[in-house]
Structures are given as structure tokens and as C-alpha cells.
């Protein structure tokens, strides 16, 4: 500080002596001298006025941390005066120093702008809050925000409630599913399957693990292919994942490369997010809730329709056969003329062990059936013409005289036969399907940036339209 002030003083001295020098040596510079002589006093004054602006103006000095000598003197005298009040004066001088630091013109300007900014933010905020607390624009708005119980009027609590409801609606925009109907309307009658099966993806069908050696790895649950393939003949299978589409769609594509099993795939975008819970709202599926079953691993998912859910434990990636064991129950549900699955599901109590409970019931059903149809067994064990002939020909009797079958087994046999047929059909046509898909991808996959910006990404609608046109041409 001291060095700075002396430096300033020196500098002013130099400027002063220089001005004097100009006065004395004016003959040496006649161009200037003329002017100088004519307005001698004014000019020196002007120069004295100009001198702080010369090189080291106040801004630069302040920026460099130098104090103005005049102000410093004033401050020292001030501090001498207020020496008695020790603490107060010290903080005062501190704050004043800080204030002086900020006193360059640039800082002043900046401060002004900042103040304007704060002021406009405040005014804007108040205006916004007031606007959001206004009366309902219409009955519909109140209804839409589920706040019909809040009447119009300008008492503080009513205003606050309206403001709250409107503010909440800003955020629910992100929490609601992206679409009103998650699925297109059910297939035409000829293609319709009796029930819709909604499956979650992670930790039910697949499991992802990370370790330092291999990074991320995803495992398919044992029996998954059979599960999907077999049940796709009875169910419209919808995979409803809890993760974002961009992370999960590849996994779904790998589970069902021919698009033969999974009818639709939904992802986190279709979930409702409320209070930290990811809810799968089945009522938005565009399907009869009485014919929809949700199999999930997270209680949050089914919190809106618990009666439709079959809860499962999270699969941890170890070998298990839960999916296969689950088939008989689901098959039974789909092959019986069921109007509403919910009472049946609820008959399993808390549904923690649907598989075991159903196995028990099936066993009971079998025994009952055996008891009711004893005459069939009697007939089968009795030797008849067929077995007699067979024994003559040397054919083992077991092939001819089959045990009578329970309807459940007949259905199962039929299902397995159909499954095998379908598998054969898929195997024969797989290359064709894959080629078709590749063609489609080539056609619609090549999106130039220009096209994307001018026309937008191709919607599924346009793709389907083009596909239909092509089919007509062919």
C-alpha cells in the first residue's frame, strides 16, 4: 500500500514537472506553444484535470490494489478519530475497503446489471406466482388437474392451493406416461388370443450383472425361449420393462429376433412415476383388465392394480426353473373359458407361491377326475380286441392301450404339438423373415440429418403404410 501511494505521488510529480517543463520549453515546440500562450491558465487546469486519466487512472490503480492517496489520508484520519471504538471501526474499515475494491467503473456497471437482474427476477417470480394462483380458466382445467374441490376466489389459502395444483401439473407432465393408450386396439377377432400377459424384463426374464473382469453381462433366464414360445399361442405377450427404451430395446430384440412371440414392448416411458414409485398402470393398456395378467418383481409396479398381478421374486442369475414351472398355471388360465382372471388370481391369497399352490390344486383335480371317471380306467385295463391283436403281432400293449387322458393333459398335448409346429414353421422361414426385416431396416434406417430435420423421424405409422402399399403391389 505504502509503496503504491508513493509511486502514485511520484507519478503525479512527474506529470506536474512535465507540464511545467512544457511551459518553460515552449519555444522548442512552437506548434504547441501557440495554443499554450493563448490559453495559459485554462490549459494548465485542463491538464491537471486530465492527469489522472493519463495512464494510471483510478480504475487501473484500484484493480492493481492501490489505494487512492487522498482517500487513504481521509481514512487514516477517520480511524484516528474513531480509535476509541475499537471493534466497530475495524469492521467498518474492512467493509469500506471491500466496497472500494468494487468501485471501478466496470464493477459499478456489473453491479447495476446484477441489480436489474435480481429485480426483474423478483418481479417476474411474483408475477408468475400470481398468475399461477389465478382463478380457474374453466371447469375443465380444474377437472384436468384433479382439483375440482378448490373453488375460485382470492383468499390466500385458495390461491395457494390453486398455485400448488398448477405447479404440480408442470411436473406431472414428465411423470405421466407419454401416451394415452399404450397399446393399439386389440387385434381382429381371428387373431386375438384369449388373454394378455404383461411381463417385466429385468430380473424376471433377464438379469444383468457387472463385475470388474467382464463388465456388464446379461443372462437369459433358463427356459425363457420355451416360456415365450409356448405361451405366445395363448397370450398376447407384452414386455413392459422398467428401464428406458434406449437401454432395453436391444435386449427385447434379442429375446425375440423374429418378432414371433412378443406382440409389443413397452418401457419406462410408458410408466407412471409418482412419489418415487415406478408404476405400471395397466388401465392405460387399452385392454380388458379382466383379461390382463401382470407378472412383475417390484411391488411398485402393480400398486395400482394389485389384483391383476402375479408377484415373482427377483431372479438373481442362478440356474432355476421358475419360468417353466409357471407355464401350467398360465396355460390353465388361458385355456379355460375365463371371463375375469382377477378373482382366480385373488383366490391364491397373497400370491407369493402361485406355482406351488397351483400344483397342489392340479393334483387334487387329477385325483378328483380319476375318482369321477373310474369306468374309463376299468375299460382301458381290460383286455380288448385291440390289445389281443397287438399281442398276437408282438407289439407292446402299452402303445395300443393308452391310459385315458384328463382334459387338462389333452390341452397340454395339443399345445405342445402346436408349439412344435410353430417352431418348425419359424425355423423354415427364419431366413426369409430376417431378410425382410433387413430390407425394411435398409429402407427406413437410412435417415439423413437433413431428412430428419425437415421431415422428422419416420413414424411407425408411415412405415406401416409403406409396408401395406408394398404388400398390395406384390
Amino acid at each position: 500500500m505504502l509503496r503504491g501511494s508513493t509511486f502514485v505521488r511520484l507519478a503525479t510529480n512527474v506529470v506536474k514537472s512535465n507540464s511545467r517543463g512544457v511551459l518553460t520549453n515552449n519555444i522548442a515546440r512552437p506548434m504547441n506553444s501557440l495554443k499554450f500562450y493563448s490559453t495559459d491558465k485554462n490549459d494548465t487546469k485542463k491538464q491537471q484535470q486530465q492527469q489522472p486519466q493519463s495512464i494510471l487512472n483510478e480504475d487501473m490503480l484500484a484493480k492493481a490494489g492501490f489505494d487512492d492517496p487522498v482517500e487513504k489520508e481521509a481514512k487514516s484520519s477517520e480511524s484516528a478519530e474513531g480509535a476509541e471504538e475499537s471493534d466497530g471501526s475495524e469492521t467498518d474499515s474492512k467493509s469500506s475497503r471491500r466496497k472500494r475494491r468494487a468501485q471501478t467503473s466496470k464493477d459499478l456497471q456489473r453491479e447495476k446489471y446484477a441489480n436489474w437482474f435480481y429485480l426483474s427476477t423478483l418481479v417476474g417470480g411474483v408475477a408468475g406466482v400470481g398468475y399461477m394462483a389465478r382463478d380457474w380458466d374453466s371447469e375443465e382445467e380444474a377437472k384436468r388437474l384433479e382439483a375440482s374441490d378448490i373453488p375460485n376466489g382470492y383468499s390466500p389459502d385458495l390461491m395457494y392451493n390453486r398455485f400448488n395444483a398448477r405447479l404440480g401439473s408442470l411436473f406431472t407432465f414428465f411423470q405421466e406416461p407419454a401416451f394415452e393408450n399404450l397399446l393399439p386396439p386389440p387385434a381382429p377377432e381371428a387373431y386375438r388370443r384369449p388373454l394378455t400377459l404383461v411381463l417385466t424384463l429385468d430380473d424376471l426374464l433377464i438379469h444383468s450383472e457387472w463385475d470388474t473382469k467382464n463388465g456388464w453381462r446379461t443372462a437369459k433366464r433358463p427356459g425363457l425361449d420355451y416360456f415365450l414360445g409356448y405361451l405366445s399361442q395363448y397370450y398376447e405377450i407384452v414386455i413392459f420393462g422398467s428401464n428406458l427404451q434406449m437401454y432395453s430395446e436391444k435386449a427385447v430384440a434379442k429375446l425375440d429376433p423374429l418378432h414371433a412371440y412378443v406382440s409389443y414392448a413397452l418401457f419406462r416411458e410408458a410408466c407412471r412415476y409418482k412419489d418415487g414409485k415406478l408404476i405400471k398402470d395397466l388401465s392405460l393398456l387399452n385392454r380388458d383388465l379382466g383379461k390382463t395378467i401382470l407378472i412383475d418383481v417390484s411391488p411398485d409396479s402393480w400398486s395400482l392394480q394389485p389384483e391383476n398381478a402375479i408377484p415373482m421374486k427377483e431372479w438373481d442369475g442362478k440356474p432355476d426353473d421358475t419360468l417353466i414351472k409357471l407355464i401350467p398355471f398360465l396355460e390353465y388360465l388361458a385355456t379355460q373359458p375365463v371371463k375375469d382372471v382377477r378373482p382366480i388370481l385373488n383366490s391364491f391369497g397373497d400370491k407369493t407361491d402361485v406355482i406351488g399352490e397351483f400344483a397342489k390344486r392340479e393334483l387334487k383335480l387329477r385325483e378328483q377326475w380319476k375318482k369321477d371317471n373310474q369306468h374309463l380306467f376299468r375299460n382301458s385295463s381290460r383286455p380288448n380286441a385291440g390289445t389281443f391283436l397287438a399281442s398276437l403281432m408282438g407289439v407292446p400293449t402299452s402303445q395300443v392301450s393308452k391310459e385315458p387322458k384328463m382334459p387338462l393333459d389333452i390341452i397340454r398335448e395339443h399345445g405342445q404339438m402346436q408349439y412344435e409346429h410353430f417352431q418348425k414353421y419359424l425355423k423354415e422361414n427364419a431366413p426369409k423373415f430376417l431378410e425382410e426385416e433387413k430390407k425394411l431396416k435398409d429402407e427406413f434406417g437410412k435417415i439423413t440429418l437433413n431428412k430428419l430435420i425437415t421431415e422428422g423421424a419416420p413414424t411407425p405409422e408411415s412405415i406401416a403404410k409403406a409396408q401395406a402399399e408394398k404388400a398390395q403391389d406384390a
Partner: protein
């Protein structure tokens, strides 16, 4: 369970983020200080000026970016662990703490302002990201059914 398989799970992702942010800063710093050094050098020394400016300044920019990225990732993981939720608020809260932590030497006012600014910025990022996501999400379409069902 993390959804994004392009990223490692939580404690390790901090290291990844630190490295990623550092390299991003170094590359950006090379461009920035390369141009700056080039323009601030006299003719004839411009190439050398650019290189020396890069050598002197780019690692600093990288370090700044890296510290920001690492800190943000650390806070993000912590917030996730505490809240046990995965949504956009995680990033906003993590941004708040990051901005605050980096400005803490500037005093209480500076810390507060910086934290709020940073949180707002990340809120905007997340909001735009979610808007994009909704915009890109498309309704599922029904397949084209032939008029007559196939007879097997």
C-alpha cells in the same frame, strides 16, 4: 441395478467420469488455447506460440473439467445411494452440491450463488433431455393383419 450398460455401476463410474471429463477438457483446451496462442503470437512465431500455449494451458483446462466431472459423479452416486431413486432430481441435487463445493473458497455468498446456478443449469439439461425423450418416444403401432387369417 443400473439401466445403462454403457456405464459402470456406481463407485467405479466416478473414475470413468473423471477420466472422461479430463480428456474432454484437454481436447477442448487444445482447440481453445491453440487458437488463442496462435492469435496472440507475433507473425513467424504463431505455430510455436500455439503449441506453447497448449502445453501450458490445456492440461489446466483438463484438470478443471476433470475435477468438475469427478465431483459431480461422486455427488450423483451419493445422492442415488441416499435417495434410492433414479430420476432427474438426482442430477439437479448433485449439480447443486458440485457448484457449491467448487466455490466454497469464495465465501458463503459465492458458494450459495454458484450452487444455485449450477443446479439450475443441470435442471435445464435434464428437462431438455426429458422433453427430447418424450418427443422421440413413439406410440406402438398395430401390425398389419391380412384380411383373411392364415389357415395352418
Amino acid at each position: 441395478m443400473s439401466a445403462d450398460h454403457t456405464r459402470d455401476p456406481c463407485p467405479i463410474v466416478i473414475l470413468n467420469d473423471f477420466g472422461g471429463a479430463f480428456s474432454m477438457g484437454v481436447i477442448g483446451g487444445c482447440v481453445w488455447h491453440g487458437i488463442k496462442g496462435f492469435r496472440n503470437s507475433p507473425y513467424g512465431e504463431r505455430g510455436y506460440g500455439a503449441i506453447s500455449a497448449i502445453k501450458a494451458r490445456a492440461p489446466v483446462v483438463g484438470g478443471n473439467f476433470g475435477v468438475w466431472g469427478g465431483l459431480f459423479s461422486t455427488f450423483d452416486c451419493s445422492v442415488k445411494a441416499v435417495r434410492k431413486r433414479e430420476d432427474a432430481w438426482n442430477a439437479v441435487i448433485a449439480g447443486f452440491f458440485t457448484g457449491g463445493a467448487l466455490a466454497i473458497r469464495g465465501g458463503w455468498r459465492h458458494t450459495r450463488n454458484s450452487a444455485i446456478t449450477c443446479a439450475c443449469l443441470l435442471g435445464v439439461f435434464e428437462g431438455v433431455g426429458m422433453m427430447m425423450q418424450r418427443f422421440m418416444a413413439q406410440p406402438t403401432m398395430a401390425p398389419q393383419y391380412p384380411d383373411q387369417p392364415l389357415t395352418a
